[in-house]
């Protein structure tokens, strides 16, 4: 059951940072939903890796975590991106672009 829409190793950080940069504050569950919807169900975030990644990124100072209420008035932990996180996002986007162009070149070569 290795699904085709599992997120490629290493891109999770990029996707989380990007989502938080464009959408602002979100809790973990909202992040999974957001990525899934925006990618038209092409990408699905594995919960098992999302939370360790969120905690790691918080520790690295890229994200800030705080407790707040959802619209349904339930307590949840909300994450937002920090300045440091934005700089990391730029680096990640640049490296993704390099990877993408590299892969594309290999694929074009027949």
């Amino acid at each position: 059951m290795k699904a085709k829409n599992d997120i490629l190793q290493g891109t999770l950080v990029l996707l989380v940072l990007r989502s938080l940069a464009s959408r602002g504050k979100m809790h973990g569950y909202a992040i999974t939903n957001h990525i899934q919807q925006v990618s038209s169900d092409l990408l699905r975030v594995e919960e098992g890796s999302l939370y360790p990644a969120l905690h790691r990124m918080t520790q690295d100072g890229w994200l800030r975590a705080e407790w707040g209420k959802t619209e349904k008035n339930r307590e949840a932990r909300f994450y937002s991106i920090t300045a440091e996180g934005r700089r990391q996002l730029e680096r990640e986007e640049a490296s993704w672009a390099r990877l993408q162009s590299g892969v594309r070149k290999v694929l074009r070569y027949t």
Binding site: G28, E46, E47, G48, Y51, P52, A76, R77
Partner: protein
Amino acid sequence: MSRFLNLFRRAKVSREIAKELDFHISERTEQLIASGIPREHAERRARRQFGAYALHKEDAWMTNLIGWIESLAADVRYALRGFAKSPGFAAVAVLSLALGIGANTAIFTLLDAVLLRSLPVPHPEQLVAIDIGDNGAEVTNPIWEQLRDHQDVMQGVLAWSQRRVVLETGAEKRFVSAVLVSGSYFLTLGVGAALGRVLTSEDDRRGCAGVAMLSEGFWQKEYGGSSGVIGKTIRLSDQPFEIAGVVRAGFPGLDVGSAPSVFVPICTEPLFHPGGAPNNLDARSTWWLDVIGRLKPDVSLAQARARLNTLAPGIFEATQPTGLRAESLERYKRYRFAVRPAPSGFSDIRKYQDALWTLMLGVGLVLLIACANVANLLLARATARQHEMAVRTALGAGRLRLVRQTLTESLLLSLTGAALGLIFAGWASRALAAMISTTQSTVILDLSPDARVLAFTAGAAVITGVLFGLVPALRLSRVSPGAAMKSSSRGASSGVTRMRFSKGLIAVQVALSMILLAGAGLMLGTFRNLTTLNAGFRAEGVLLVNAGVNRNLPPDAQIRARLALLEKLRAIPGVRSASVSALTPISGVGWNGYAKVEGQPERPGREKLVFFNAASDAYFETLGTPLISGRDFSQRDTAASPLVMIVNASMAHRFFGNSNPLGRRIQVERDGQYGEAREIVGVVADAKYRNLRQDAPATAYLPVAQHTVVVLGSSYELRVSGPVASLIPAIKDTLSPGSDVPVQIRPFTQQISDSLVQERMLATLGAMFGALALALAALGLYGVLSYNVARRRNEIGIRVALGAARARVLAMVMGEASWLAFVGLGLGVAGALAASRLLGAFLYGMQADDPRNLAIAALSLAAVAAAAAYLPARRAASVDPMTALRDE
């Protein structure tokens, strides 16, 4: 502190993570339900999507701890699997450790209970014993009263004295143990009452009526713990005592090892001497009270001692005994108080403390030998496991990890051994306590393991575990994977060093065994000497009967009653001869005084000191003491007839040299005056007096009928024929109607055996430890040689194939063994000579460096070593070269 905060912070972090994940799962579940999936499926699916992270062990600290526990568990599992594969090895190791650690714990438990444990009272560290320096532990009642009324450096002082009294319940009479206590006893100690009230100074006034407190155990046993006992009367030695209260549970008095039944005030002492007999309250030369004080918190021991000794001259001036000679009186007035810490109370059993420490040392050696054995077993296993370790190293196991693994194994062995040993120790320490109990005084100790004992056992387990585990562990972890995997599983290269270490261990084992055997030999020799010496009497076939007569009678009536009882006892069929005396030999009790030849000056110094006994006719015949010359006492020696005495050979020689003592006259001192002279009518052979160790002192025997002052109890001696047990009912029947004091009947041999408690304990345990050491050393030697033979099988095969004679192979292995034994014995003899000096004080008729004893120990060790070596040697000699070489 910050560590704690950290812990809390971490706990908070984990809680937050859990909360966050719960939120996610419930949101997901709701979404799935909304999309039409039934709740239970939805929930399971939401949870499943989390996978392993549901365990959310992000926390590094937790991860580490859990990882550590998991790998420890793995180590333990691995070790257990290993032991399951070689159950013989594990059983031998665990059992020998259990015996070693258990025996150590048992002796330590006893030491702890007798010596180390503090009294179960508040602030035992404040308690100090007060006695008169070199004059022994006890004081007279006048001294005690002075001390009580004049001291001002203690919160309180208390005095007590323990004795056996006769308890009367209905028709039955028996001895119980009572403590006479000062009024300050319970309040100063801080011991309360379980029921009723404690005794106070109000109860302890001259001329008081009988009042008593019961011990909790006695109350439970005799009265079933009934609360109605308060105010009831208990009869002790024919006197009524009103029960005032019950002492709280768990307080056995200040004499550790005895468990008194009743506590009565000191002022009731005269009640135990009915008929106006002199009592101890005003006696100025009867030393019978022990004194303990409780220091004030801000007063040091030295200050207390200094203060008491400024009081001492006044106290001793006021209490000087009458009838003392001038020089004794001068010495008396110079007495000073000694003050020493006494947080653990007093104990008669402490006379065995040197013996117990010696045994502790011996049993420690046994444990060392057991350790050496297990170390050797582990080493042999380690060599067999080199290959496995090499593989593990190659797979990336760190050296520390491997050491940990092997240490886990050894600690597992030693801890299992200790756990078993604790069970064994519970049994063994009770057996030991029984060993130092005698028929006269049962030792009652709290032998439940306390924190100190448990710490001792745990410490012993860990130390032994590391001791025998570390070398094999380090040895193993040093294996280079390449080398070990290339060579065959035998690990030929490191085998040599391993063998050198193993052999070293064997030599040490032999040496330690030698020390133990030599010590055991000395103790066995001492015991044999004491039991086979010519004591001057024949104890076999003699029964001792304790039965008093009514002490309310005047002294001459008491004597007549005794002699009448004696006649009745002589009439019992099976009694060949019988006598009555003031005391019996080897009872530990003595009666001495000064004597001189009539018309001559007294002899100098201690030469005038003579020991006495009062005896009826047939006393010497009954005990089997030969009459050398003159005559025995007869029934014609009465109060009315001329005064006579019989002396022993030592006394005759001291007072008269080689001239004939018969017909000479001796005066005996009483109250500073020499009394009427007695004619010597007989001389008997020397007989041991108070104990077997001391030579028979100069002894004078007086006829009971002429012994006007009844100073001691009386004992009947019966020489009987046939089985003893069948006579006991007849004796009881004979005595009961006329006597009102409990009957105690026991063989004379029992009394003698009671006097040899320490010697028997040292000899028995010494022999046990020696045998154990011998067995362990033999096992060790056998194991190492067997292993060595197995290792060298090919080599031996080649030798045989090349024409070596079987006998030569046999000699080769035996030679190796004897080399080890020789080195060990050499070390052992030196060690034994050094260690035997510790035993000097316990010996009788043996020299600590007795060469015969050393030779016997060395020879038995050599013989056992030879036997242990012979089996592997024969195996080596019977190696078939063909199979040995084919196996290569």
